[in-house]
């Protein structure tokens, strides 16, 4: 069965078809929820809620959007709900940080470089959680889910220009957070540029 056929069957109450849809999408939905919620526990809740919303809403899902686009939207909404509930439950800021970032077994960067990269990943994870909801959503959909601007526009139900600016602003805000915590200076040494050598601080250029 194609995804479309599964969707049609599930909309008519076929639980097995829906089970297939869950297994087809659980990885992406869980990943998205984790990056939006920050903690594995919240993410599992949000992912579960998203699928349950999908099950309940399927009879009125008319296939105008792609099923996965719709599912991402439900995941975004469920993540926001979970975060809000969490916030209400304990007004204090959590002291246990986000999930530990596993080491990557790749290549052979120096131990120091590895440590720096690890630290930056951890800082980015933390920083993401400090962004506003729409900024975090846009950036995570782009960077982690690798959706195109058009797909993100469909998920978030905004126009392309808004997607573009949300992603750009999210990056600017994230950078500011990382800079404040000293996570960026010296990570990638800025190449000496012509203007810098001249000592010129010209921050605008005529084209």
């Amino acid at each position: 069965m194609t995804v479309e056929e599964l969707v049609r069957a599930a909309a008519k109450g076929d639980e097995n078809a829906f089970g297939d849809l869950v297994r087809l999408h659980e990885k992406k939905v869980n990943h998205l929820a984790l990056r939006l919620c920050g903690s594995p526990e919240d993410a599992a809740d949000a992912a579960q809620e998203a699928f349950l919303s999908a099950w309940k809403g399927l009879p009125s899902f008319r296939g105008e959007a792609d099923f996965s686009t719709w599912l991402y939207r439900l995941t975004c909404n469920a993540s926001i709900d979970v975060l809000r509930r969490e916030k209400r439950q304990r007004e204090t800021v959590s002291l246990d940080g986000p999930a530990p970032v596993p080491d990557l077994p790749d290549g052979a960067p120096s131990p120091q470089e590895q440590a720096e990269r690890r630290e930056l990943r951890r800082a980015v994870e933390e920083g993401l959680m400090q962004l506003g909801d729409t900024h975090r959503q846009a950036l995570v959909l782009r960077e982690m889910q690798e959706l195109s601007y058009e797909e993100i526009a469909a998920v978030m139900e905004v126009d392309l220009g808004t997607v573009k600016s949300r992603i750009s602003r999210a990056r600017a805000a994230l950078r500011k957070i990382l800079q404040k915590n000293g996570n960026l200076s010296g990570y990638l040494p800025s190449k000496p540029s012509v203007a810098a050598q001249k000592g010129g601080g010209q921050h605008e250029e005529k084209l």
Binding site: E49, L52, L74, A172, Q202
Partner: protein, 442 residues
């Protein structure tokens, strides 16, 4: 063109996503070579981008699907919406009939983009709709190679799909749609706290705990707003329809102006509605009359003129080229013609020309255009067979997707097979049947 560093920051962000045109990339490189501030910004963003790329895709929690399915078995689905649930539906139907009667079905589908394009197509018999916009995947990479002074790390991973779309003014579609020097004449703002004991928003669009009811379609919301304003779809140009939360309720924000963009008018009225997405009630609306001070002095040029402009700029004649697209589109709140054509030698041209006849942007690619493959070399059946041959044990039942796609002019079958818990993605050439890509994800 002079840009501020802030604008370059947005370009840098788009560059990372592979969304910049070659021209913009060159402008960005040129600027960065002389601007250490932007270069540092670029370096930082690359570092962040890499950090996010390196993050692991987490394993799905043990027993996740089982838990979901256990819950599903105990949960009833929300019933599909009934057609005649609300009284306003009759209004909507009436408005729809009117619109169809005058041949203006266009405004009902989607936002401003759709409507403007379709409107043009109607009075532009030569419109080419053949090739989807912006299929030029390799472009970003090429420009990178030719530009010095970039960190090498930028080259890998970040060049994805290239899609041409100008940097639009964010979050202000209305403001953008009515250009320059407008003076509010009269503002009528009405806020109706129209809240009957509204049922909860539908689960379909929100969280699981919400109750049994469904949301209106965006189209319904537009029709309600139109009926309320006493207008038909023919009269207006929609600039936005989006679903949003307002005071804990889901509402459609519907924005449009009248008279529609196809008329040359010195003034227009901008409407702004919030429609309760569940009940269809008008929660809030405003209408504002605006002068469009320097309305486009000249009459907008026609599609043929736009093509002629592009040809003149390229130094070619109509006999030299094959047009693949001429479309009126919205860009930064302005209407522009997107004109695309290629020459026999395979050079691809891509123009954006505003309605005053100015070339807003162009793109030239010497070799990337391959004319669409002659259909039928490899049939769907054959593609299916080839794909299944790559996944031993899988049968036609395991194919979840089989689509013929136009990949930069070449016909490519995209096939997805889910078998034994593994998702296989294949790309098969529509010309030769060669497997271009084969990917498996457990």
């Amino acid at each position: 063109m002079r840009r501020s560093c802030e604008e370059y920051e947005e370009l840098i962000s788009e560059f990372l996503d592979g969304e910049l045109s070659k021209e913009e990339q060159l402008a960005l490189m040129k600027h960065m070579s002389g601007c250490p501030v932007c270069q540092k910004y670029f370096d930082d963003l690359v570092a962040m981008h890499e950090a996010m790329e390196e993050m692991e895709v987490p394993a799905v929690p043990e027993g996740f699907a089982e838990r979901v399915m256990a819950q599903v078995r105990e949960t009833k689905q929300d019933p599909a919406p009934k057609k005649t649930a609300f009284r306003w539906k009759r209004w909507a139907a009436l408005a729809a009939c009117c619109a169809i009667a005058v041949g203006g079905l266009w405004a009902f589908r989607g936002g401003r983009k759709d409507s403007s394009q379709a409107a043009v197509t109607a009075n532009m018999p030569y419109a080419y709709q053949g090739v989807p916009a912006g299929d030029a995947p390799e472009e970003a990479g090429e420009a990178l190679d030719s530009s010095a002074g970039l960190p090498d790390t930028a080259a890998d991973g970040m060049v994805r799909s290239v899609m041409r779309e100008d940097a639009a003014e964010p979050d202000a579609p209305m403001a953008a749609a009515a250009p320059a020097a407008e003076t509010p004449k009269s503002t009528q703002d009405a806020v109706l706290e129209n809240s009957p004991p509204a049922p909860e928003p539908a689960a379909g669009y929100s969280s699981a705990k919400q109750a049994d009811s469904t949301l209106l379609e965006a189209e319904d919301a537009r029709n309600i707003a139109l009926a309320h304003a006493g207008l038909t779809a023919e009269d207006v140009t929609f600039t936005a329809t989006k679903l949003d939360w307002e005071d804990g309720k889901q509402v459609y924000e519907v924005e449009f102006f009248s008279p529609s963009a196809q008329y040359d008018s010195a003034e227009r009225t901008e409407y702004d509605y919030d429609i309760d997405a569940v009940t269809g009630a008008v929660v809030k609306y405003s209408a504002e009359k605006k002068d469009l001070a320097p309305a486009p002095a000249s009459t907008p040029i026609a599609a043929e003129d736009a093509r002629a402009k592009a040809l003149a700029h390229a130094g070619l004649t109509a006999a030299d080229v094959t047009f693949t697209k001429t479309e009126l589109d919205w860009e930064n709140g302005k209407q522009v013609y997107e004109v695309e054509f290629y020459t026999a030698a395979g050079a691809e041209y891509d123009y954006e020309i505003d309605t005053a006849g100015e070339i807003v942007r162009f793109d030239y690619d010497a070799e990337s255009y391959a004319p669409p493959a002659s259909a039928g070399t490899i049939t769907r059946e054959k593609a299916r067979e080839i794909a299944l041959g790559k996944v031993p044990g899988a049968s036609a039942d395991h194919i979840t997707k089989l689509e013929l796609d136009d990949d930069d002019g070449a016909a490519v079958y995209e096939v997805e097979i889910v078998y034994g818990g593994v998702e296989y993605d294949l790309e098969i050439s529509g010309d030769t049947g060669a497997v271009l890509e084969f990917e498996a994800e457990g």
